[in-house]
């Protein structure tokens, strides 16, 4: 089963977390990114994520594999939403299990940082003023 997935509908984090837990786990770190009601000082009404699916899945899987190789963790999973999202909806989830917390935190942080910088997913925000636009950060 892939450790990185794109989801075009809301997904359940409890069952993802349950997949990571076994008797060797001492520390479990997770991160969730939620759709905020503002960005760069502008009021956001909602957004859409678009992906280049084949490459996003391959690059996301590569990132999770890197984390498993770099850090002393037991397992890790990441899911990223695509499609239309409302304020407050879950956009991305990362979960990491490890014997100890240092490695769990480090791997969790690595995965979200790399996903945000490398995986071909783009955010399209709709603003209160009625305009909208793609985010292509410098």
């Amino acid at each position: 089963m892939p450790r990185f997935q794109l989801a075009d509908t809301p997904f359940d984090t409890a069952s993802l977390r349950a997949q990571l837990l076994d008797a060797r786990v001492g520390g479990y770190a997770s991160f969730e990114g939620w759709v905020r009601d503002h960005n760069d000082g502008r009021v956001v009404h909602g957004l859409r994520y678009e992906s280049y699916t084949a490459l996003a899945e391959a690059e996301g899987e590569k990132i999770v594999d890197e984390a498993l190789a770099k850090f002393d963790v037991l397992d890790a999973l990441c899911v990223h939403r695509v499609g239309d999202l409302a304020i407050g909806e879950l956009a991305v989830w990362v979960g990491v299990s490890a014997a100890h917390r240092d490695a769990a935190f480090a791997a969790c942080r690595y995965i979200i940082d790399e996903v945000k910088s490398r995986v071909p997913i783009w955010k399209h925000e709709r603003y209160a003023e009625g305009d909208a636009g793609w985010l292509h950060p410098e």
Binding site: G33, Y49, E50, S51, Y52, A54, L55, A56, A58, E59, H80, A91, V92, I112, V115, K116, S117, R118, V119, P120, I121, W122, K123, H124, G133, W134, L135, H136, P137, E138
Partner: protein, 81 residues
Amino acid sequence: MTVRVTVLYFASLRDTAGMASESFDTAAPDLRVLYLELRARYGFELPVDRLRVAVDGAFARWDDAPRDGSEIAFIPPVSGG
């Protein structure tokens, strides 16, 4: 020599091009020149150094030559998460 390629457009590139993909014959010697030609045609704002390029679902190099039958994607700066 020309090869037939399919180019995928994402995010602002798709909005500017007005389509998600197109197939055409190109004589561009490498992917950089191919992008520059498309940029001139459609008026893309993003310069080459802010993009990455992928071929058939894997990241590629700008000086790779377009391969016949390949699917080429120009990847604008990503904003997931």
